[in-house]
Symmetry: C2
Subunit: 478 residues, 2 copies
């Protein structure tokens, strides 16, 4: 599998550092405001990527996505006010009250669009001790300096600063955008620890007085604490590449003398009707409203249909045509299940084998979900012709259903796969229990072929089996 590495600006063969395990860190939400559509897009992408590694590549994934509950400042400049402090003051809330509320909303939104929870979701404020230690280490190693309660990273000491974003010091110094801050040695130095404002609530004692961490150092501390000094994938939206990720690299260099990440993977920009979404432009849509308007599954399917690192444009028309694609697949399944004949169709089998190859080939090419989905449509087109002939049997149906269920573990949009005869769960439960008993007898008799066929039959009913260590089999109706 190849992934586009922002660092090298090319697709690279993906080889995890530790065999069989992918260590992935994705920059999480700054919980000063409700989740926005950009978050949804980004996190659906990494959710699919993690599931693809798990389901198709048989890799374990340890997925860490932080929660920024302090340290992200307005304008992302060193002189801004903490976004959470500011918003909480506006709303007459304790900052933690605002944070708790937005964390609740964040999970509601991400659960709704079926993003599996990351393995861990550490919060920045859980790491103040480690952050203070990291800042001290940067000072001790000569990469940071304190002035009047602020601590800055000295970027002039960082070899190859700008290697990720291309914003080298030469380029930055030539640019007029950065104003010179009197306190800093160099206008491009950035804060790793900030002096607290007089009335701020989010603050801790440190060797440099009362303050709070810089945003960049939080991610360096959390990613390396849980994944090691170097890890496989660091993700986030493209706009985080500079300065956030560039500064994470600088900090890792200062702390450990090395770049922390093997593959820098960034998601693309999200537009609304062709322009950047923003409250001031009045083209902004909240996640809640988008879910109400288009439905959570359709929204997910829309994002899955875009390539993760291309710009995407959200619009009513785009959403409608994506949904039409989902319906095309659904219609094939409904025809497939209604016209079952008695003869196994080898052509249909071959078509499915082609889909297997083509789908994975496209996914392996830098996670090209739109091309992979085009392969699905190709299959649907050809399958529909065969389905109309009725010359295929239950075994064909099981094969196709099973493969689409495998795809669905990644995309999580094919609810129609699990449509069941109109019977209630208790009847289905009865039926499943009988099939499990039968299967267990086959297993005892070592007739594994029949046992597997029965497992597939159970799967086709939309039921997940789990063979426990103690010899029992439990199941879950999806």
């Amino acid at each position: 599998m190849k992934l586009y590495n922002t660092m090298t600006r090319q697709k690279e063969e993906f080889e995890p550092i530790h065999k069989g395990l992918v260590n992935m860190y994705v920059c999480g939400v700054t919980v000063y405001a409700p989740l926005h559509m950009g978050h949804i897009r980004t996190y659906i992408s990494y959710d699919c990527l993690a599931e693809y590694f798990r389901v198709f590549k048989n890799l374990k994934v340890f997925y860490v996505r932080n929660i920024t509950d302090v340290g992200s400042v307005v304008g992302d400049a060193d002189q801004g006010e903490d976004k959470i402090e500011l918003k909480a003051k506006d709303e007459h809330l304790h900052p933690l009250e605002l944070v708790d509320r937005n964390i609740k909303g964040m999970w509601q939104g991400l659960d709704a669009v079926r993003c599996a929870r990351p393995n861990i979701s550490p919060r920045a404020t859980m790491h103040i001790v480690e952050i203070i230690e990291a800042v001290q280490k940067m000072i001790d190693r000569g990469y940071a300096y304190e002035i009047d309660g602020d601590v800055f990273c000295d970027v002039s000491k960082i070899k190859n600063y700008g290697m990720l974003s291309g914003n080298t010091l030469q380029k930055l110094e030539a640019g007029a955008r950065l104003s010179i801050d009197d306190k800093k040695h160099n206008p491009n130095d950035f804060a790793v620890w900030k002096k607290a404002r007089t009335n701020s609530v989010l603050k801790w004692n440190s060797p440099w007085g009362v303050g709070y961490p810089g945003w960049h150092i939080e991610c360096t501390v959390m990613s390396t604490k849980y994944l090691g000094q170097t890890f496989d994938i660091h993700g986030g939206a493209l706009e985080l590449a500079f300065p956030h990720h560039e500064n994470e690299i600088a900090q890792s260099y200062a702390l450990y003398g090395e770049q922390p990440v093997k593959y820098w993977v960034h998601t693309g920009l999200l537009l609304r009707d062709g322009v950047k979404m923003s409250k001031s432009l009045n083209n902004y849509i909240t996640v809640d409203d988008a879910i109400k308007k288009w439905g959570a599954v359709n929204l997910r399917w829309f994002f899955v249909n875009g390539k993760y690192n291309s710009p995407m444009n959200i619009s009513d028309g785009a959403l409608d045509s994506t949904n039409a694609g989902l319906e095309r697949i659904e219609n094939m399944f409904s025809a497939l299940k209604n016209n079952i004949g008695s003869t196994y169709n080898t052509k249909l089998h071959t078509n499915l084998e082609e889909l297997r190859q083509n789908f994975e080939r496209e996914m392996d090419d830098d996670f090209n979900t739109p091309n992979a989905i085009a392969c699905i449509y190709d299959f649907v087109k050809q399958a529909n012709i065969i389905i109309a002939t009725h010359i295929y049997n239950e075994q064909n149906v099981i094969e196709i259903t099973e493969y689409f269920a495998k795809i669905d573990k990644v995309f999580k949009c094919f609810d129609f796969l699990y449509s069941r005869p109109t019977q209630d769960d208790s009847q289905l439960e009865q039926q499943v229990k009988q099939l499990i008993d039968e299967r267990n007898k086959c297993r005892q008799a070592k007739d594994y072929t029949k046992a597997d066929a029965l497992k597939q039959q159970i799967l086709a009913l939309g039921v997940e089996l789990c063979d426990n260590k103690d010899g029992t089999t439990t199941f879950k109706i999806k």
Copy 2:
């Protein structure tokens, strides 16, 4: 209003320290295992108490309930292993993975039984800096000592140790239960900072080496950080009174020279079929199963029917008879709405006035919810006789509905109040908008009596109004 104060062992008039504001801290969940029924009981009690303060006493409530994500050890003794570390090891998970999973489940369970989220839910690991500072301060003030990486509170220095639980040092020393720990000066000294085990994950550098906080110090640090050195109410289940709360008092004495809490309020024991619920006794029921078996609302109503500080016994029979009570109220409402006549009934009005007085009198008597509910049943009995006569009018219905809706802001079980004519939300919305327009015209014309009547009419449709500062009125269909 009177509340039973475990400290003084008597009901005391409740007077908050700061006029108009109740600062309340309740010991939260140790997230090493799924939520259990005892949690549900306890947190429903404090949820009702907080809502009662808000709705009936017009008090602001700042409710802090912590999350213990490190430091609670097996057996709650100083030598046990951290519960989260141990469980995570068993399940081959990173401790944070276990914690995140259980926090998710905790919110699912508590949201299901309609407990409003506390204002803030701080996690222990967000306060390691403050905990280390508190431990250092205890040492500096001569109330704690370090031995080999552990720091113990010296209880012999604590004036009146045992004042809450009655477990004075004399009594404790006479008891045979405590074995002498060689490291401690006194067998009753307790750990405020613990040396980390070799392979533990949850650990931080400290002036005393690598370790983690004691459970008791976490609550002292979090409660006083957010609520001040002294605050109004400290809650938790009765079994926390000793040693947990006793040790919180000791720590506050060591840190600030004073007892932290004005009212110590404890919830009672929960039994299943007369015996303590435990996995080993096989009479344990998970929250998920209990919700499936009895329904979240019935479960909540069951607990509301018990006095918060009495032992309660959960059993199928008990749940059934409580539900019957809820049905009795529901039946009255359905009759009330179906038999509306045209004459205002002053007797029915007087009955309602009596309910108002009696309900609040009982609630004010140490939050006696069962007696308060008995007053509701008395009202229902008398109202049913009048309802059968049809001699009452819409105004009576509105008055009664309004008062039950007020009660329901505390109990949150009267879903039948909000049953609406069979029309969809868009029709209802239309209707409500017209009523709001009409009401706004009355308000402009300063006819506030009619405006209020319209507000009540809208409320009876199950719609909450909110008059915004900018003069607009928004609404929410319940």
